[in-house]
C-alpha cells in the first residue's frame, strides 16, 4: 500500500490510488491491453534475457498467457530477496520500499499481475505465524505447472559413475551458495562431503568451473542441470544416477501467484495454463530448452 501522510482532503485521493496498486483487477488488466508477468531476473533456463527479449520456460508460458487473453506480454523482472515471502511481498502484493518516485508521490508501485515459479505447496501456502496469523494471506498461490527436483551432472573423465553421493567424499563438487544443495553437501552424513563442496554464485558459474576442470561435478535443480548439459553438448558430462538420502525436500511443484484480491485474474490465467498442460504444449516448451518435464502432483494424481 502507498504510505499516505496527507491532509484529509488529499487522503481520499490517496486511498483511491492506494486501492489500485500496480497489480490489478482482471478488468483493469483486460482494458489496459497488457499483462505484467513476474519473472526472476537472470535465472536460466526459467527466465532470462537474450538480445533484449525475455526467454526461458517461464517467459514462454507468460507469453502464451498473454496471447490467450489477447494482451501484450510485459515482463516484470524480479531481483530475488532472501526468501519467497520477501519476493511475494516485493512483487505481488505490497511492492518494494525502494520503489518510490518523489516527482510522482502518488504513483503506483510496480508489481507483477502474475508471478511465475512460485511453489505450489499447501503446507507453505497456509503456514501460520506464531501469533496465529496467516503468513501468506495476501497472495493466492495457484496453477501448478511443473514438478522440480535435484540433479547432479558430472565429468565422466574424472568420476566413473555417480551412483551414490558418497563419491563426493573424494571428488570436488560445485554448488550454489546459500542453497539447499550447499547445505546438503556441507552437512549431510556428518559433514563427510564438506571439504569437497565448492561454493559459487550460481549453477552457471559452478558449471563453468567443471568445464575448466576445477570441480568434478555440479549439483543444482534438475532443470538448471539439464539446461547446462543441453548448452554444453559435451559427451563427457553425464547425469548422476544417485538419490539424495536425508534430503528433506526431494521434489516440489511450481505454480503461480497473484494478489489475493484478484482471484478472477487467477482463474483466467489458470484456465490457460491448465490447457497448456493437458494439450502437451507445456511439455513442448520444456523440450525446446532441453529440459526434463515432470507433471506437477495434481496432474499425476488424476492421470
Amino acid at each position: 500500500m502507498l504510505r499516505c501522510n496527507l491532509t484529509a482532503f488529499l487522503l481520499v485521493t490517496c486511498l483511491a490510488f492506494a486501492g489500485q496498486v500496480q497489480a490489478r483487477y482482471y478488468d483493469d488488466v483486460i482494458s489496459s491491453g497488457y499483462i505484467s508477468i513476474g519473472l526472476y531476473r537472470n535465472f536460466p533456463p526459467y527466465s532470462f534475457e537474450q538480445n533484449g527479449q525475455a526467454v526461458g520456460v517461464d517467459a514462454e508460458i507468460g507469453k502464451r498467457i498473454a496471447k490467450a487473453m489477447d494482451l501484450e506480454f510485459r515482463p516484470h523482472w524480479i531481483t530475488p530477496d532472501e526468501n519467497l515471502e520477501d519476493d511475494l511481498r516485493n512483487n505481488v502484493w505490497k511492492g518494494h520500499y525502494l520503489d518510490k518516485d518523489d516527482s510522482q508521490p502518488l504513483a503506483m508501485k510496480k508489481l507483477a499481475d502474475v508471478m511465475m515459479r512460485v511453489p505450489y505447496d499447501r503446507e507453505f501456502a497456509f503456514r501460520q505465524e506464531s501469533t496465529g496469523e496467516m503468513v501468506n494471506e495476501h497472495v493466492v498461490m495457484f496453477g501448478p505447472y511443473q514438478r522440480e527436483s535435484w540433479r547432479i551432472a558430472f565429468d565422466s573423465r574424472k568420476i566413473e559413475e555417480v551412483s551414490t553421493v558418497a563419491v563426493f567424499q573424494y571428488h570436488p563438487i560445485g554448488v550454489e551458495i546459500d542453497s539447499l544443495p550447499a547445505f546438503y553437501m556441507v552437512s549431510a552424513f556428518g559433514g563427510r562431503m564438506r571439504d569437497n563442496a565448492h561454493h559459487f554464485t550460481n549453477v552457471d558459474e559452478a558449471f563453468r568451473h567443471m568445464q575448466k576442470g576445477k570441480v568434478d561435478a555440479v549439483m543444482g535443480m534438475r532443470a538448471e542441470i539439464d539446461w547446462q548439459l543441453f548448452q554444453a553438448k559435451d559427451p563427457s558430462f553425464h547425469i548422476g544416477e544417485n538419490g539424495f538420502p536425508m534430503m528433506g525436500k526431494q521434489k516440489w511443484d511450481l505454480g503461480m501467484a497473484i494478489k489475493s484480491t484478484y482471484r478472477q485474474l487467477g482463474y483466467a490465467v489458470e484456465e490457460v495454463v491448465d490447457r497448456m498442460i493437458r494439450t502437451g504444449e507445456m511439455e513442448k516448451i520444456y523440450q525446446q530448452y532441453g529440459l526434463t518435464y515432470e507433471l506437477p502432483g495434481l496432474y499425476q494424481d488424476v492421470k
Partner: protein, 588 residues
C-alpha cells in the same frame, strides 16, 4: 576531578575554542579538528564526537538544573515520500549542519535558521535490493568535503558549499550484495569505511581512501585467508593474508564467502594509533555447516591506519550460531587501577556481554552481562571466550530428516541483540558507560517448508518476544570497573537510538515513542522529555554557538525493529514514520 582524564586539559580546550571562534570560520576540516573534536565545543566534525566515539561533550550550560527549560528552536523536514528509519548523527561546522536521511540523501542546513542550503539525492540503480534496509548513519567531514556511503556501496564526496559531487568511488558491487550505511571516519587524511552485506556470500573488509582525491590506499579483508592490498605509488601491492592463511578456522571453501561484514564502521584512538572495527556474523547462518571459530567473524579488529594490517583481534562469539554479530563500537577510555592508568576500551556486544579490553594489545580485562538474562552462554572464561550452553544453540537443519519443523530453541538475547547498532556513550565525569539495551528473547527453529528463488530451501523460523510486559528497552549506566549497573531507565518499546553524555551531568537519548529525553547521569532521574513527532533512532549531538549550547537530534521511526513480526511488532505498529532534525537550546 575527572578520574578518566584523557590528557587534554582545560587550557588546551579554551585555546582551541578561541581559535575556532576567530579566523577559522571558512577553513575546511583538518585532521587536528577531528582529533580535537571532543573538546572543541564549537563544532561536531566526527561521528561519535571525537574519533574514540565516546559521545561525551564538556559543555555544561545545559545541565540538570537548566535542562527543563530546553526549547525547540527549529525543525527541518527531510521531505518527500522517503521517511523510513533515520539513524543519522548530524555534524556541525561553521554554522552549517550536515545530516543524512534514509535512501542515501544528504542535507546541508543553516544552523541559525533551519533553512536548507542544499540537498543531495544519490541516484540509485533500478532493481537494487540492499541487504540492510535504506538507512544511513551520517557523513564524514574533511577539508571542504562532505563524504558519505550510499546504498549501492559507493563513497561519495560532496562540495560542502554546493553539494556537488567532487569524487565518487565504488567500495563494493551492489549486485553481489554490498551496501553502505555507516558513517565513514577520517584518520590522517584517509577516509576509512567498512561494508554492509547480506547472506549472499560477501566478504567483509575495511578500506582506506585518500580523503581529498578518493584514491584507494589499502584494503583489509576481515575473513581469514583473503589477501590484503596496499597501493604504493599507484601500484597495488600484496599486503599479507588476513589471519596468515586460509582454512585454519573454517572448513572447506566456506572462508571464501565467510561474511563478517563491517557494517557499522569504526572508531580510532590516536594514542595507540589504531582503528577499531567490529565484524558481523559468519556465513552461512547455520553454524553447524562451519565448525570452527570462523575468524574474524563476530570480532573486534584493531587495524593500523597507515598499513591496513591487523594489530590484534578479539572474538566475542566464536562459531556464531545466533546471528549475534560483533559490529558494536569499541570505545577507548582510560581508568585508574591502583596508581596505574589502564588504556582500555569497552564494547557492549549483541550477545549480551560487555567487554573491557586492553586497547594496546586486545587482552581481555573483564566481561560481564549487561542484560538481565543470557541463555546461550554460562559466562566468560579467563580469556573472555563464552562458555556455551550447547543445548541452547539453534539446531542443525540436517537433523530434520522427516522434513518436519525442528525443535524450537529459546535464545536470549534475540538476534536483534542485547544492544544493536545504537551507540553508547562514556562520561568522563562519572566514569560510566550509558548503554542503550533491549530485553528480548527469540524462539528459533529449522523451517523445512521454505523456498528461495523457486527452489526448496531450509530456512530458520523465529519469533521475537519480550521478557517483560512493561518494557523492552533499558538505558543502563554501567560501571566498566566493576560490571555493576548503577541505574536503569525502562522503556516500553525497544531502544534503537544513540546516547550522548555531557559534563552538565546529563545523558541524552531518544526513544521510538518519539521523545528526546535527558537523564541525570549520576542517578538516572529523567529531567526532560520532548516529543519530536516520530520515533527517534538517531544519535543526539550538542555544540555551542554564540555562547549558547545547542542540542540536535534526528527524528524518524524505522530501522530493523518494525521489519520483524511477532509480539514485538505489536508494540511499535502504531508508531509513525518521519524524517526531520530538531534543534534545541535554552531561552535567553
Amino acid at each position: 576531578m575527572s578520574k578518566f582524564a584523557t590528557g587534554k586539559g582545560f587550557a588546551v580546550t579554551a585555546l582551541v575554542a578561541a581559535m575556532s571562534l576567530s579566523g577559522m570560520a571558512n577553513a575546511g576540516v583538518t585532521d587536528k579538528d577531528i582529533l580535537n573534536d571532543q573538546m572543541t565545543t564549537g563544532d561536531v566534525v566526527s561521528n561519535g564526537l571525537g574519533p574514540r566515539g565516546q559521545r561525551y561533550s564538556p559543555l555544561t550550560a545545559v545541565n540538570t538544573d537548566t535542562v527543563q527549560d530546553l526549547k525547540a528552536v527549529w525543525s527541518f523536514s527531510f521531505g518527500g515520500e522517503k521517511q523510513r528509519g533515520q539513524e543519522s548523527q548530524p555534524m556541525v561546522k561553521d554554522g552549517v549542519m550536515y545530516v543524512t536521511g534514509s535512501y542515501s540523501r544528504v542535507f546541508a542546513v543553516d544552523v541559525k535558521t533551519g533553512d536548507e542550503l542544499w540537498q543531495y539525492d544519490a541516484r540509485l540503480p533500478d532493481g537494487i535490493m540492499p541487504c540492510c534496509d535504506v538507512i544511513n548513519r551520517g557523513v564524514a567531514l574533511y577539508g571542504d568535503l562532505v563524504i558519505f556511503g550510499t546504498l549501492d556501496a559507493k563513497l561519495v564526496a560532496l562540495d560542502k558549499t554546493t553539494g556537488k559531487v567532487k569524487w565518487k568511488k565504488k567500495v563494493g558491487d551492489y549486485k553481489a550484495g554490498y551496501s553502505l550505511t555507516a558513517a565513514p571516519i577520517v584518520v590522517k587524511g584517509k577516509v576509512i569505511t567498512g561494508v554492509s552485506g547480506g547472506e549472499f556470500g560477501i566478504v567483509g573488509k575495511v578500506e582506506a581512501y585518500d580523503a581529498k582525491t578518493g584514491k584507494i590506499a589499502w584494503t583489509r579483508p576481515t575473513v581469514e585467508g583473503h589477501m590484503g592490498y596496499i597501493w604504493k605509488d599507484g601500484k597495488k601491492v600484496e599486503n599479507g593474508i588476513s589471519g596468515g592463511k586460509a582454512g585454519q578456522t573454517w572448513p572447506g571453501d566456506l572462508w571464501k564467502t565467510g561474511g563478517a561484514a563491517t557494517w557499522l564502521g569504526g572508531t580510532y584512538d590516536p594514542e595507540v594509533d589504531l582503528l577499531f572495527f567490529g565484524t558481523g556474523n559468519p556465513a552461512p547462518w547455520n553454524s553447524h555447516l562451519r565448525p570452527g571459530d570462523n575468524l574474524f567473524s563476530s570480532s573486534r579488529l584493531a587495524i593500523d591506519p597507515d598499513t591496513g594490517k591487523i594489530a590484534w583481534h578479539f572474538q566475542t562469539t566464536p562459531n556464531d550460531g545466533w546471528d549475534f554479530d560483533g559490529v558494536n563500537e569499541l570505545i577507548s577510555f582510560d581508568y585508574k587501577d591502583g596508581g596505574k592508568t589502564v588504556k582500555a576500551a569497552a564494547t557492549a556486544d549483541r550477545n549480551g556481554f560487555m567487554y573491557v579490553l586492553n586497547r594496546e594489545n586486545g587482552d581481555f580485562i573483564r566481561g560481564f552481562p549487561f542484560v538481565d538474562e543470557i541463555s546461550w552462554a554460562k559466562g566468560l572464561d579467563k580469556k573472555g571466550r563464552p562458555i556455551y550452553v550447547d543445548e541452547n544453540r539453534p539446531g542443525n537443519p540436517a537433523d530434520s530428516k522427516d522434513g518436519k519443523k525442528g525443535k524450537a530453541i529459546r535464545a536470549v538475547p534475540s538476534f536483534l541483540g542485547g544492544k544493536n547498532w545504537m551507540p553508547m556513550a562514556f562520561s568522563q565525569d562519572t566514569g560510566l558507560f550509558y548503554v542503550p539495551s533491549n530485553e528480548w528473547a527469540m524462539d528459533i527453529w529449522n523451517e523445512p517448508v521454505s523456498y528461495k528463488k523457486g527452489a526448496a530451501y531450509l530456512g530458520a523460523g523465529f519469533t521475537i518476544s519480550s521478557l517483560n510486559d512493561d518494557y523492552i528497552g533499558v538505558l543502563r549506566a554501567m560501571d566498566p570497573k566493576t560490571g555493576k549497573e548503577v541505574w536503569r531507565y525502562k522503556n516500553y518499546a525497544p531502544l534503537w537510538g544513540g546516547v550522548l553524555a555531557t559534563a552538565g551531568n546529563l545523558v541524552f537519548m531518544g526513544n521510538p515513542e518519539g521523545y528526546l529525553m535527558a537523564f541525570d547521569a549520576k542517578n538516572g532521574e529523567m529531567k526532560y522529555k520532548f516529543n519530536t513527532g516520530s520515533g527517534i533512532v538517531g544519535s543526539p549531538i550538542t555544540w555551542e554557538m554564540d555562547g549558547e549550547q545547542y542540542v540536535s537530534v534526528v527524528s524518524g521511526w524505522g530501522g530493523a525493529v518494525p521489519l520483524w513480526g511477532g509480539e514485538v511488532a505489536k508494540r511499535v505498529k502504531h508508531l509513525n514514520q518521519g524524517g526531520s532534525v530538531w534543534t534545541f537550546k535554552l531561552p535567553k
